[in-house]
Symmetry: C2
Subunit: 348 residues, 2 copies
DNA sequence: CTGAAAGCGCTTACAG
DNA sequence: CTGAAAGCGCTTACAG
């Protein structure tokens, strides 16, 4: 593959001049520029990004470590991250942790070794030593969706508490009193917060949240299935299952179907995170929707701000309830489907 | 960040010795090794992969350019690719073309500039000059799922012809005679092949495939919606719509639902590519399933073979029909759902 | 077993 | 405006 030396030789100039042309440095004569460009063309030369990175100590690359690519929520997040990064002149390398802390650490280490300019993380756990070191060690970092409380890293996320409250109001209005939740790992912020929001909302309605109605999941489908089976085996099964993410809702649906039961007739179902298929499932599933694309874009902007020396800002968006039919027919046709014109934010 | 020089100073040896220890070179004294390892530990040293790549001309990185990350088929493909690559000591950088040739070229160029060791591509088009140049220019390359006929590059893919024949047999058995297809872009192999397979199968049953029953889609949901609307506007609408991928099936479902029609009562629906949600849609959707994980893993193995100097092999897996209820109730309960114990392959 | 030195492909003060 | 030279952090013949 042609190197800058070959181009210099072909154009009859020094490599310094070639480099200047390539980097749009102002002090290059028009003639030199023309000759260099011609040489680049005939040789099909492309600068070696590896060499450039070594010299400039910049890779123009962002690392994104997500918990699970197969989760449509994270897929969409990854897509919006890549889009915004590209618009700002960065590439992104995705590391999929599959909800496994070791795998997350593997990717963080790999990304750090590649000297990415900044790291976007949606932590799978409460914070491995490696993650904490990286955060404190000066690697520009931003948390997105999930975060680690102990460290001083900007967080871009959605607050789902109001939406969970709306959901509980909806369920209560439908006459449901025995509500259960399939939680995510307690070590993740989204894992514990969604349970807390649910518990707080139930309290407002004077409803209990017995331990037996808290299924321990890991955000993957299989755990949703197991938790739901446990619920159905209870002497007094819940009337509603609220899955803390869409994959566990899928597992719950599998379990319900396997018993020949029907939603919402035999049991109601709702999920955190909305996906296009929820419109077409049997029945359409009531869900809490996050402004995923906005989260991804805001996270990139915050990270690039940090990288380029501007003060990054944490940002919190609002999730909202989307009522469909999986919890029963709403009393009134207009139901309780709050649709704020656009998600509000609060800067921190 | 500590460099190899700092480690050498700390350990009281030369950088060459440090390098040898790090690369498990045999001729290093036990004592030197111990001292170096200790220095690495105290400094928290991590080798700079950028510098190493420049020197060795290897990045241990594979590029994967897929047509659309939001398509669960490609998400799963990407996941299996990353898994197998990791097992073989490679990282992967994913480029999402979003079914846009320009974006595909952007990613290929970016990946080439980063000097990835090899490229896995599922081309969005019939072959841009850039792709062809890269293929001919000696960059190790393997096509996965879709391919470009003109170039000599190994192809890892699934053959869906038998499954499409099974599907048509199923539909015919159910009494359907007016069958329509939403095709992918003719410039992609999967776009044209699926139509051809469908046409050939219809011919076996003496059924026509009029132009009006061929909707032109682009593998994205919106195009599936538009094509379906056009079908429904026909004086004699089809009895069955076969979407050439799962996202266009989603769009078709949206269009059908928007007209207040029901599947399969008013119109039947089937899709190429199976996804977990198809079990839970209303009704469950009959689909053709590819062995996606196997495709991804085989593609990585072929590419790594090529990179490491072993002869790579093309491989063709078999897709299979999964009958559910979206085309009507099967005549016999055991239906026609061929389930070969394991997908067969044919090497080329 | 070990170190000094060259070199991978760039960029960038420095001098002219 | 231009070029010679240093240097980014590594690896690896080469000599000892």
């Amino acid at each position: 593959m042609a190197s800058i030396k070959n181009v210099a030789a072909e154009a009859g100039v020094s490599v310094a001049t070639v480099s200047r042309v390539l980097n749009d440095h102002p002090s290059v004569s028009a003639e030199a520029r023309t000759r260099v460009l011609a040489a680049v063309e005939t040789l099909g030369y492309r600068p070696n990004a590896v060499a450039r990175s070594l010299r400039t100590d910049q890779t123009h690359t962002l690392g994104l470590v997500i918990s699970d690519v197969l989760n449509p929520y994270f897929t969409e997040l990854a897509r919006s991250v890549e889009e915004e990064a590209r618009a700002l002149g960065y590439s992104v390398i995705i590391g999929n942790a599959d909800e496994k802390p070791e795998l997350q650490d593997h990717h963080i280490r790999n990304l750090l070794d590649r000297r990415i300019d900044g790291l976007l993380v949606s932590p799978t756990d409460g914070g491995s030593p490696l993650t904490l070191d990286a955060a404190r060690g000066g690697t520009p970092m931003v948390f997105v969706d999930r975060w680690i409380p102990a460290v001083d890293v900007p967080v871009i996320r959605a607050d789902g508490r109001a939406a969970v409250r709306d959901l509980v109001a909806h369920l209560h209005g439908l006459g449901h009193r025995r509500l259960a939740i399939i939680a995510g790992p307690a070590a993740t912020t989204t894992g514990s917060e969604r349970v807390e929001a649910f518990r707080a909302a139930l309290r407002e309605y004077g409803l209990p949240l017995p331990d037996a109605y808290i299924g321990q999941g890991d955000f993957q489908a299989e755990s949703g299935r197991r938790a739901t089976e446990a619920f159905l085996d209870l002497p007094e099964p819940p009337e509603v299952v609220f899955a803390a993410d869409n994959l566990m809702a899928l597992g719950a649906l599998d379990a319900i179907r396997a018993r020949g039961m029907r939603v919402p007739h035999d049991i109601a179902l709702a999920a955190f995170d909305d996906i296009p298929w929820f419109v077409h499932t049997d029945p359409p599933i009531t869900a809490i929707a996050q402004p995923t694309g906005e989260l991804g874009r805001a996270a990139v902007r915050a990270l690039v701000d940090r990288i380029e020396g501007r003060p990054p800002q944490s940002e919190t968006f609002l999730a909202r309830l989307v009522v469909r039919r999986s919890c029963g027919e709403p009393a009134s046709p207009r139901g309780l489907s709050p649709q704020p014109p656009s998600p509000q934010r609060s800067n921190t």
